[in-house]
Symmetry: C2
Subunit: 319 residues, 2 copies
């Protein structure tokens, strides 16, 4: 019997990474193209399909590629399209799954990056064996994938799972989406930078971060300052975690998950983010859930977590 393989594709604003993944969640081969190099979707898909065909051809005799999974910003599972993605060159609705499918030999399925991460955790990572859980991706933005009874929640239009755009403060920070006070403006890597800038401006607190110009400050420096016990950096993590914790308590009140998994970016700051998230989540949970919801780090290899997620989607869809 042949070994089943899946191709996982992670479309980011800068790079598109393509990997061949086996059923154990091991990435056997990987390549990439520059997403931004191609002005039109047609030219991009042509270049992507070329990479895929090469990977299809080099798969060894004993293996079989069962399908292709794509994780992309604003990817819609129902339609297979990328719809109005702000960080990509192509505007409007791009039916990417069918465009790729027309040029390769394998079936293609597409979803957004956070949903792909959730399926990755379910098949290969921290949510193995779980039927109800939520994955929160903490990158430049805040994404989420919600799993209920073993199935990803896509909703009526395919766009469910936008916890990053729930409201922390109706009169709060302006979000890239045009709304005010979205969680994403507080608990993303960009959010914690804005919190640090506010703290630097509004206090005289000495801080290692004062040596940087405001345009230089990034979340890694904030993490390093926190490791050095910098009070202002610790305060920024506390605030970032508080906002996330309160909104995760809300998320639990919706779908009552067994666990919430923090993925990527800020989640790598460990206790600096996990401790305040857990504290405030428990404080705003109904007593029936207090101390019961597991808060876990991702267990996908961080070097190719997104590719593993996309490949997991293909395994789930085409197995």
């Amino acid at each position: 019997m042949k070994n089943d393989l899946a191709i996982g594709i992670d479309i980011g604003g800068t790079n598109t990474v393509i990997g061949v993944v086996n059923r154990d969640g091991k990435c056997l081969q990987e390549s990439s193209i520059k997403t931004g190099l191609y002005l039109g979707a047609e030219a991009y898909v042509e270049a992507l399909a070329k990479e895929i065909r090469q990977l299809e051809e080099t798969a060894d005799f004993n293996s079989k590629i069962i399908g292709i999974g794509v994780g992309a910003p604003n990817g819609n599972f129902h339609t297979g399209s990328i719809e109005f993605a702000p960080n990509l060159n192509w505007k409007g609705v791009v039916p990417l799954a069918s465009m790729i499918g027309a040029k390769v030999n394998s079936p293609v399925v597409l979803t957004n990056d956070a949903n792909a991460a959730a399926i990755g955790e379910m098949i290969f990572g921290a949510a193995k064996g779980m039927k109800d859980f939520i994955v929160i991706t903490l990158g430049t933005g805040v994404g989420s994938g919600i799993v209920v009874n073993g199935e990803l929640v896509y909703g009526h239009d395919g766009f469910a799972g936008e916890i990053g755009h729930t409201v922390v403060d109706p009169d709060g920070r302006l979000c890239g989406c045009g709304k005010k006070g979205c969680l994403e403006t507080y608990s993303s890597s960009k959010g914690i930078v804005n919190t640090v800038i506010e703290l630097l401006n509004n206090s005289e607190e000495p801080s290692l971060l004062r040596k940087h110009t405001i345009s230089e400050i990034n979340s890694l420096q904030i993490y390093e300052a926190a490791c050095n016990n910098d009070k202002l950096a610790l305060e920024a993590f506390e605030y970032t975690g508080k906002m996330l914790g309160i909104k995760l308590a809300d998320a639990v009140a919706h779908t009552s998950p067994e666990a919430i998994i923090l993925f990527g970016g800020l989640s790598l700051a460990g206790k600096f983010i996990f401790d305040p998230v857990k504290k405030y989540m428990d404080l705003y949970l109904l007593p029936i859930w207090r101390d019961k919801i597991k808060l876990l780090p991702s267990q996908l290899n961080e070097n190719n977590a997104a590719v593993l997620g996309a490949a997991a989607l293909a395994f789930k869809q085409f197995s």
Copy 2:
């Protein structure tokens, strides 16, 4: 072929209503017992089972009772138990479904009252034909039932769907659950009364409601004042709807429903509550959802909506 019937049981703090319902959602027979009359769960179940057996026996020759559905506060679908219900005489965990099942001829299924309302809307009411929707029950408290892909969301422990206990304001009003700032403290009939009391205390605005003592004011009087164009009453509805609208935008960001259905209590105030809910929900929705999420009134007959919901649960479970 015999006509299928289901028995629906709505357990409230004061009355327990038992009805025989046909597949068209018509309640053919109804009776009730006083919930609070029985100190122990055993005595209560004995009285309830007696009513059920009478209804079973009087069902006509051409009919068949396929099962019994129970909607109860803090009812857990997974366990069939009522768990720590604050408004009932029995404390702790009461395995009500199995206790009833032991004394009658039909199978028994149990869930909480808001989940029963959601299944009622799906089978008999405003959500017929929908696969993704949310029902919000606006009574003394605020309950919710979330349906994803045609199935009620119960979550890992059976307690999903507590949108009434999501956080409007982390430092806000004290809720009966012990937390601060829950939606329920703003957008329930009790919440709007508290809003009116705050408005009366903090302004000199003339109002029809000033003729009542504070302990007398109820949501019906506020509704009647609003009908008479009372500015303070209108302001209270606006505020109540704003809080609910913002949290419904959050709910949409979780499961992306086709519609949200407002059920019971304050929802009967019509435009006074629907208009601000819709306005603020749309304001805090991502652009992809704006003006797209239907906000609907319940279409279950309000006289026995809860019984219809409980019977719908039985039809769904035992058909």
